[in-house]
Symmetry: C2
Subunit: 171 residues, 2 copies
Amino acid sequence: MKYGIAFFPSKELQDLANSYRMRYDPHYALIPPHITLKNPFEAENEELKTITDKLHDISKNHSSIPLNIVKVSSFYPVNNVIYLKIELNSELLNLHSALNSGFFHDNSDYQFVPHITIGQSLSDDEHSDVLGQLRMSKVQHKETIDRFHLLYQLENGSWTVYETFQLGKDC
Amino acid sequence: MKYGIAFFPSKELQDLANSYRMRYDPHYALIPPHITLKNPFEAENEELKTITDKLHDISKNHSSIPLNIVKVSSFYPVNNVIYLKIELNSELLNLHSALNSGFFHDNSDYQFVPHITIGQSLSDDEHSDVLGQLRMSKVQHKETIDRFHLLYQLENGSWTVYETFQLGKDC
């Protein structure tokens, strides 16, 4: 089964992201707006208990994370993903490191750039147009994240939450 | 904010339900296949801590639930919802009662009929055709449910998981 680890920002921020995603992101219906903490990875059912135990250890040993959206940006020319850029801070970096080292070995090809995708799979022309428009909108937002989720993917590509992990708590 | 309480069955059962939902359920993209335990209700942000505390109490005091799908059925003539019918058992009934009494007062107009919706908003003719076909398919499935989720609704109608509650566990 394919698993992923992510957190969902507040309803307010998800609603904002969806106002863009509904137009520019074909993954709009597959998962709510999210910040990926660990790229999708394969695991067997028998490994699930070990995985959730390790995630509880990690969540217990990390505290809430300040989330600061600073602007709209893009991964162009690597790809045409347009995203809300999240300021990297030590709390977020530490949590990401814990989820991508040791037992949870690193399965990413790129450096960690925390973001909420709001557009993807656009043609070069669309990408350039949309990015130009969105860069003019002042997107600034602050909140605090206190939990993350382990999700698994269904055959239709959508994601279901398996379990929540609260930062700084035993469960 | 609008909240709901539901559980998601196994990936296998979700995939089966989605194979019907993609054709017959316009809510297909808004939430994964699920069993509703408490109808949507409004709550303020300030009430959230009390709600999750109460839900932890309830989950701790209930144990895993046998889930037995027995057939395809319909709520016709009340409405045109087609669903996978779940056998009612005492564990499921007790959990539903706890989530619809006391602090969580009953906000349902109907008796509890546990089900996974696989079709809705069909015309009378479509409903009759689809139900006739699906009734011939032998849908029988057993599994065990060990958790439920508190979800909230976004402005686009989709649902995001806020927290998981494991049956028989402190968290």
